[in-house]
């Protein structure tokens, strides 16, 4: 594998890692506040459909993005209602919402466009188009780093850079603000937060809403940047992979970046059987490559990467003392 091929793969890594990163950060806020969210997948799917459909109808990708975030927020609201207000089973709520999203996206897309549950192909202003970073052209002659800057970092859609910026932003919000401290506390010991006179329910709903917004961006990225339109089940388990990355990252923003990019790298490899065969030196079945990100997820969960300790109050509804 030469340097040019490596750069191509790293370029796809960033492209494919972005939705994972956004979803992973989404899960991070929710789980840090003590709400398990298996429903990242459904929220992304819902947003992908809504943004794809609205972008196609309005011709503006930004309106599409807004619609995607709204759609994702609706599911997040239901999840909050079920798991915070009515203290239901958070896992089951997430799974249920995933099924609902899986079915309803196809129903709506079919009713709107009649193209077998897809949205029409997007082009021009209805898509997030690649933007070149400044001096990419000029610097590309600098050895090693120049091509890296020009090939890998430059030439992505704005959402990729937004996702990367979300990492330090999440870190700052969680570790350097009062809101972040309370949010982390509510995931570890909600009773203490309650005693301090801060609303557990309010904080948890805020966390779930942030999750909704980030999943919404992730889904919109899938439909309007990574691909040109929504297709059924297009998220293909990314929500679950993001959850695994979250455990791998031990619920920390910077580690989330590393973990999701690792998964992105494996997804990029799965798209390049020729490269894998060149490195391994023999023919690899395509289905094995397809399964690779999922197998890696299991290996990560199996804890061959060190012990991961989840937020202590995760998954438990908070019952206020009377």
């Amino acid at each position: 594998m030469d340097y040019a091929t490596l750069l191509q793969i790293l370029d796809s890594t960033l492209r494919l890692g972005t939705p994972l990163l956004l979803a992973c950060l989404a899960g991070l806020f929710s789980e840090r506040a003590g709400i398990f969210d298996i429903g990242l997948e459904g929220k992304m799917l819902m947003s992908a459909m809504a943004s794809g459909a609205v972008a196609a109808l309005s011709g503006s990708v930004w309106i599409g993005l807004g619609a995607g975030i709204c759609a994702s927020l609706i599911l997040a609201g239901i999840h909050g209602l079920a798991s915070i207000t009515f203290r239901g089973n958070q896992l089951i709520s997430g799974v249920a919402l995933n099924f609902i999203a899986s079915g309803i996206t196809v129903l709506v897309a079919q009713a709107l466009f009649g193209q077998g549950g897809r949205t029409p192909p997007l082009q021009g202003a209805a898509r997030f188009n690649p933007i070149d970073l400044p001096f990419a052209e000029a610097l590309s002659s600098v050895p090693v780093l120049g091509p890296f800057y020009a090939e890998v970092l430059s030439g992505h859609s704005i959402l990729v850079y937004a996702a990367l910026a979300a990492v330090p932003a999440s870190w700052w919000l969680l570790y350097r603000t009062r809101f972040g401290l309370r949010l982390r506390a509510v995931g570890e010991n909600p009773a203490a937060v309650d005693t301090a006179g801060v609303s557990v329910v309010g904080l948890r709903f805020a966390a779930v809403a942030i999750t909704g917004v980030l999943c919404g961006i992730a889904g919109a990225y899938m439909a309007t940047a990574l691909q040109a339109g929504f297709g059924r089940e297009m998220t293909a388990g990314r929500g679950y992979i993001a959850l695994a990355a979250l455990i791998f990252a031990k619920w920390r923003p910077w580690s989330a970046l590393g973990a999701t990019m690792l998964f992105g790298f494996f997804q990029a490899l799965a798209l390049r059987p020729d490269v894998v065969e060149g490195v391994v030196g023999r023919k690899v079945p395509v289905s094995l490559l397809d399964a690779l990100p999922y197998i890696l997820t299991v290996l990560v969960l199996a804890g061959f990467v060190g012990k991961a300790i989840p937020p202590r109050a995760g998954g438990q509804p908070y019952v206020k003392e009377r």
């Binding site: 298996i38 239901i78 209602l81 079920a82 798991s83 207000t85 009515f86 203290r87 239901g88 089973n89 958070q90 896992l91 089951i92 709520s93 799974v95 249920a96 919402l97 995933n98 099924f99 609902i100 999203a101 899986s102 079915g103 309803i104 196809v106 129903l107 709506v108 079919q110 009713a111 549950g117 059924r232 388990g237 679950y240 959850l243 695994a244 455990i247 079945p285 289905s287 094995l288 397809d290 399964a291 999922y294 197998i295 997820t297 299991v298 969960l301 199996a302 804890g303």
Partner: protein
């Protein structure tokens, strides 16, 4: 909060949940510009209006009893097995390997062997997530979902590169020999008076009902069943009582996987007569809804399986006769899971409020 009478908790909560799910589904149908009454009519006529329709409904019911029981057993151990889909597909691989291995003299022998194959492969596919949960604390919900994807990829590999007969285009195994064909309900003396046309429902239905009885006996009338339920209620208490967590997690997940795998004698051996891609068609996931709707009790599971059999066959009829996409089934399934599994507290609060309201005048 007031406690509900037991009958209300057992019967009324699922029924009201179902009603909510139905109302929202109707709203969804309205929102996409279709007529919910016409949709319901099509579903009822197609699934329950004739012996032929029942033949399909019961065929789906059979699969859902297995997957519903699978989720139920795991639930009682406090484990959420979402891997029924993958376990059922691997079970199908077991059935195919057994059916194609040797020339079977009679379907009864083949059925016995294929059942063992299906159960063994399904259990094996559940074993790894179970082990990882028991030994490494890996979240079983995520690992079983991952194993669904890995299982699907494995089946594709087996069908495309290994089991596909030379010269065949579509990724599937060869057709199973004639001797392995299971009698469908229209071939069983007595029942053939009701089912005149050929239907896919087959003898597996009786195996499913037997499995329901077996699960009931296991959970409520054996030492192991008691340990499983005790472990599911409270792990520390079970541990204190000397129950080995590793053993319970492994055994309950193996049983769960075996039950999921067993559903493939219904679809792979009983209906298709060969293994194709995505043979279980989401039945593994339906098991979650069936188990929740059936309140994790075998009787409830069988009733809920009939309901979902109706929903599935009715949904297929919708896809056939109306322009409502078949994905409506997935939405209804999700809604039922949401209301029975996650918003059950809301339904209960609502009911408690109604009961209190009725009780109030007498108290005063």
């Amino acid at each position: 909060m007031e406690r509900l009478p037991k009958w209300a908790d057992v019967a009324l909560v699922p029924l009201i949940s179902l009603l909510f799910a139905a109302v929202i589904s109707a709203l969804v149908i309205l929102a996409i510009g279709k007529d919910p009454v016409e949709a319901l009519n099509t579903m009822v006529t197609g699934a329950l209006g004739s012996a032929y329709g029942w033949g399909y409904t019961l065929y789906y019911t059979t699969s859902f009893i297995f997957t519903g029981l699978a989720v139920t057993v795991a639930f009682h151990a406090g484990l959420f097995n979402i891997g029924g889909e993958g376990q059922a597909q691997l079970g199908g691989l077991g059935v195919a390997l057994v059916c194609l291995a040797v020339p079977w003299p009679h379907w009864t022998v083949a059925l016995l062997a294929a059942s063992l194959g299906a159960a063994a492969f399904g259990a094996a596919w559940a074993a790894i997530p179970a082990y990882l949960q028991a030994k490494r604390g890996s979240h079983i919900v995520i690992t079983t979902i991952m194993f669904n994807y890995i299982g699907a990829a494995l089946i594709v590999y087996m069908l495309v590169d290994v089991l596909r007969p030379a010269g065949q285009m579509d990724p599937a195994t060869a057709n199973f020999p004639k001797e392995t064909e299971l009698p469908t309900l229209n071939h069983i003396p007595g029942l053939n008076l009701i089912f005149e046309k050929g239907v896919p429902a087959n003898v597996t239905l009786f195996i499913a009902l037997a499995a329901a009885v077996a699960v009931w006996a296991l959970l409520w009338h054996t030492r192991l069943g008691y340990q499983i339920r005790a472990f599911g209620k409270s792990e520390p208490a079970a541990r204190y009582a000397g129950i080995n967590p590793f053993r319970i997690i492994m055994i309950s997940m193996l049983i769960s996987g075996a039950l999921s795998g067993l559903m493939s004698i219904n679809n792979v051996m009983g209906e298709a007569g060969r293994l194709v891609q995505n043979s279980s068609e989401g039945a593994g996931f339906i098991g979650i809804a069936v188990a929740l709707m059936g309140r994790n009790h075998p009787i409830g599971v069988v009733l809920a399986a009939v309901l979902f059999g109706f929903l599935y066959q009715g949904g297929a009829e919708l896809g056939l006769w109306t322009s409502i996409p078949i994905e409506l089934r997935t939405v209804v399934q999700g809604l039922v899971i949401l209301f029975t599994g996650a918003l059950d507290q809301m339904v209960r609060m609502l009911l408690a409020w109604v009961f209190n309201f009725r009780a109030q005048p007498r108290a005063a």
